[in-house]
């Protein structure tokens, strides 16, 4: 296994968080992992992305120049990262917010109306979890049990109350992809 995933969107959408959850889960399942964030003079509403690698072999460069999957949460991110996807790779698009089309025809495109699905679940804060679920439906690289235990470890105190809704978001993303195939 050598999953190279870029997650990208606006600051505040939680792309860093889903990247960390996936990385942490991969580590707990014995994979070699790295998480590399973009950083810069950026603020909420600016662009944010992270590079996540889950691999059986030690990670050489944590910078992804050939992505196996990308998770896209806003328009500018699609233009920026679409060229980096390998032929046959997957692009997961939050179609609630992205209204431009993927131009390439040598990749698989999955459109997930993540904001609408989130509102249906009663929380507008979990489109990121739905996108993570969509990715996991196609790439079950970590189990839901591991993901749950990582959330329990990283979301403590007041945040613990949000674990169930976050998990329901991940499950919603998985279910959405499974019902369209």
């Amino acid at each position: 296994m050598n999953e190279k995933i870029i997650m990208a969107g606006f600051g505040g959408q939680g792309v860093m968080l889903i990247g960390q959850l996936l990385t942490y889960s991969g580590m707990n399942e014995g994979k070699q992992v790295s998480w590399l964030p973009s950083y810069g003079p950026e603020m909420r509403g600016g662009t944010a992305n992270c590079h996540v690698i889950l691999s059986d072999a030690p990670v050489s460069s944590p910078i992804i120049t050939k992505a196996t999957s990308i998770i896209i949460m806003n328009n500018p991110s699609l233009g920026k990262f679409e060229p980096l996807v390998i032929p046959g790779g997957d692009i997961f698009v939050n179609s609630s917010l992205v209204d431009i089309e993927v131009e390439r025809n040598d990749v698989n495109v999955y459109k997930i109306p993540a904001n609408q699905l989130a509102i249906k679940l009663g929380s507008d804060k979990i489109p990121n979890m739905i996108m993570l679920g969509a990715y996991l439906a196609k790439h079950p690289v970590v189990s839901m049990d591991t993901l749950k235990s990582v959330m329990e470890k990283t979301m403590q105190g007041k945040k613990a109350a949000f674990i169930p809704v976050n998990l329901s978001g991940v499950q919603e993303g998985i279910d959405f992809i499974n019902q369209i195939k």
Partner: protein
């Protein structure tokens, strides 16, 4: 202890405490701000002290004072901040005090940018301050190595009474990897700090921490004493990683972040049947000259890859000593070399086009 997923700058902080550091003095600058942030919370928990100084110059002189009293002290900054600290670093080296200085290098010159760079190689290895002095300079390329080196750095510095510098960049500082912070593996027989200004209680002559020697004969004697220590360090502290060097038609030389990108390029070359090796200096000073002796005679060339316009290439040429041709590829200003471009450079050397 099991592995934890940690950010590089936090690894620096936790490993410093693990290595016995109890005093941090610094001034904020991107991309190393999580180091002081982390230590401001953690040091008081272990009986230590965190001070945000009014400037970089103040911070390094606080390190000078704390180290002079025998404490394990450190500072961290990024390129322009480290430039400001050079006077203090030279004084600390002259006064033979142990301390650790972290430089999360960013693009320069001047204020430059905040993205990863390796443009401070000369500053770190050639003495950014005045005088005949050396720092022991480490350049880890992953977070576990960062943790291990940082944990041992204070012990090493105490042993030689020479400041240690850790060179990273924003990528090492900002990324997360699994890390296990364990007690330093290399235990040294440390001499008592009988030179420290700890108060005489009226029982001994005062200790004086100083780097001023107006008598040239005395200063020469002092310099030769330092030189003897540096020779000792050269003989005992060289560290490097060598990958498939003996058999390679091209040997790449890279350190820190860049070495990981080069490793990716090398693995892609291997898939195409090319024989490419890597020398990765872990100590930038002392430089691992000995690693080059294993390269075969008819190797087509060495390719030094840096995030600068060519600084370590000088040391590569010194180590090669005319035995092979040395080539350079670099990006600068915060731009990161891509595996594809490195691969092309390697192939040019193999085809004799460089």
């Amino acid at each position: 202890m099991t592995k934890k997923l940690m950010k590089g700058n936090e690894v620096i902080g936790e490993a410093a405490i693990n290595g016995g550091c109890r005093y941090f003095f610094g001034y904020p600058i991107t991309p190393q701000n999580e180091v002081p942030e982390y230590l401001s919370k953690r040091l008081p928990e272990v009986g230590g002290m965190f001070v945000q100084a009014e400037s970089e110059i103040a911070a390094i002189n606080m390190v000078y004072g704390a180290a002079g009293s025998g404490a394990r002290a450190m500072t961290s900054s990024s390129s322009p901040g480290i430039a400001l600290k050079q006077e203090g670093i030279s004084y600390i080296a002259g006064a033979m005090l142990p301390c650790v200085i972290v430089n999360m290098v960013r693009g320069g010159p001047g204020l430059g940018g905040i993205q990863p760079s390796q443009c401070d190689y000369f500053q770190a290895t050639r003495g950014g301050g005045n005088g005949d002095y050396r720092l022991i300079v480490y350049a880890p390329n992953n977070l576990q190595e960062t943790a291990d080196i940082m944990s041992e750095a204070f012990e090493t510095s105490d042993y030689y009474r020479v400041p240690v510098m850790i060179l990273g960049d924003g990528m090492i500082g900002q990324m997360m990897e699994p890390v296990e912070i364990t007690p330093p593996k290399k235990k040294r027989n440390l001499p008592a700090k009988d030179w420290a200004t700890t108060g005489t209680d009226g029982k001994r002559k005062p200790n004086i921490i100083n780097s001023l020697y107006l008598n040239p004969a005395q200063l020469e004697e002092h310099n030769l004493k330092l030189e003897k220590i540096y020779e000792d360090i050269k003989a005992n502290e060289v560290r490097y990683e060598a990958y498939n060097v003996e058999d390679a038609d091209v040997v790449c030389v890279a350190y820190g972040t860049t070495s990981r990108i080069v490793k990716s390029a090398i693995m892609e070359c291997e898939e195409e049947g090319l024989k490419v090796g890597l020398i990765r200096p872990i100590t930038l000073w002392p430089y691992p000259d000995e690693a080059f002796d294993k390269i075969k005679k008819d190797c087509k060339g060495l390719l030094c890859v840096e995030m600068s316009l060519g600084q370590m290439i000088d040391d590569v040429k010194i180590a090669a000593n005319g035995r092979w041709k040395s080539y350079f590829y670099g990006r600068t200003g915060g731009m990161i070399p891509e595996p594809e471009d490195i691969k092309n450079e390697i192939k040019k050397i193999i085809r004799g086009e460089k």
